[in-house]
Amino acid sequence: MTDLVMEAKHVYKKFGKESTKVKKIGTQTCVATEQIVEAVKDVSIQIRKGDIKLIFGPSGSGKSTFLRCMAMLEIPDKGEIYLRDECLTRPGVDLNKARAKIGFVFQHIYLFRHLTALGNVELALRQVLKLPKEEAYKRALAALADVKVTDCVNKYPSQMSGGQAQRVGIARAIARDPEIILLDEPTSALDPELTGEVIDTLRDLAKQGTTMVIVSHEMPFAREVAEEMIFYDEGTVVETGPPPLFFNAPNTDRAKKFMTRIINRTTRE
């Protein structure tokens, strides 16, 4: 199909090297082994234009690493990442150009601390897209208006609330008109009362038909906007399906357990 925006094929990523060190301390022998952590084990995923996919699962299971591999912020050890027809994992690909077409929103926001909200959004427009000053300014303002932070235009990151900062982060990701936006737990570093405003922004993006992959545990939001939910555990995709499947009766035990826990927590709050 031609509307395939992004595809990951058999992606594999591990951290650390397996090593065994034997040390003699007095009469005792210590064996220190360093284990490999396989964060992503043979994961494949296809994203079509306008898709909204939500990846969820226990923390430490490698969801973020997989998302970072898709953005080529982490280079996969094996497997291929395609953006449209271009294979990003082939050697010699201009990764900067590729990354310019992918929006990424970080859990810990990572705004440029020396730039105002406007500067944060403008930087890539000026330096990557090489837009003239006027146009970059207009587009940056428009992106900031889209996420409703026009009152922060001239504020520095440290002068904003977490919710405002994350919305600026989203504006920075969408201003370039990327093919796809990858969001790595965009609300989990925020106070509960601030997550609402970020979720509202994401809902707006969903309405505009933005292609998104979101790592998140915001279940009500997932139910509302996601076409497909992906349950990810121990480096692999355990189960995928539309939200009703997960909310009613997941097929796998692991997904069932996780859903029960997360729904209990949400209803208690």
Binding site: R99, H108, Y110, Y156, S158, R176
Partner: protein, 225 residues
Amino acid sequence: MFEFLFNPTFQSWILQGLLLTVEITMFGVLMGLGLGTLLAIGDIYGKKPIKIAIATYVEIFRGSPLFVQLFLAVYTVPAILNVQIDHAILAFLVFGLNSAGYQKGYMKGAIETIMGDQTEASLSVGLSKIQTLRHVILPQAYRIVIPSWTNEFCSLTKSTATLAFVGFLDLVGAGRSILINNMQIMPVWIVIAIIYLAWITGFSKIMDIIYEKEKIPGIELSMQS
């Protein structure tokens, strides 16, 4: 007691001395900043041989007395190479090279405190590594490094006193020349000290103002000069 201050010859010596001290410090700090930045970048991003070369450079210039470096540069090196180079040029270079040895450390520290998440954010919007350095890392690093830079300026200014011992008329050189003609040891050195003090205090204040003005909310350093 201070009548030597009204002697026009002495006045011109002091003025010349101050000028040389100021010139060589300014040059040294600026060259040190440029070269120190390059060394810091090389040390952080470079391959092993580059790192070793940089570490050696830093140890040599930081680990030996400035006076010895100056002496070797002015007398020994031209003799070995059998060339005639203006002593002033050599002295200026020594101050720049020496300062770079220290400033590399300041810059490296500043870059390392900001590079992690800021680099990732910068790459994620499509900037290249060089653009990241230029537009994201260095603008923040320079702001952080201003107080260390002020310290470097103070210490370099006082190091210029060594110039007198390789035949230059810096402030201390001027003091020495006056002493030969006028044996008022205490007053002469008091005057020289006051001139150093005034210049360093004034300049540090200017740097503090620049630091406050350039300071970006959220990028602050607990260490203050």
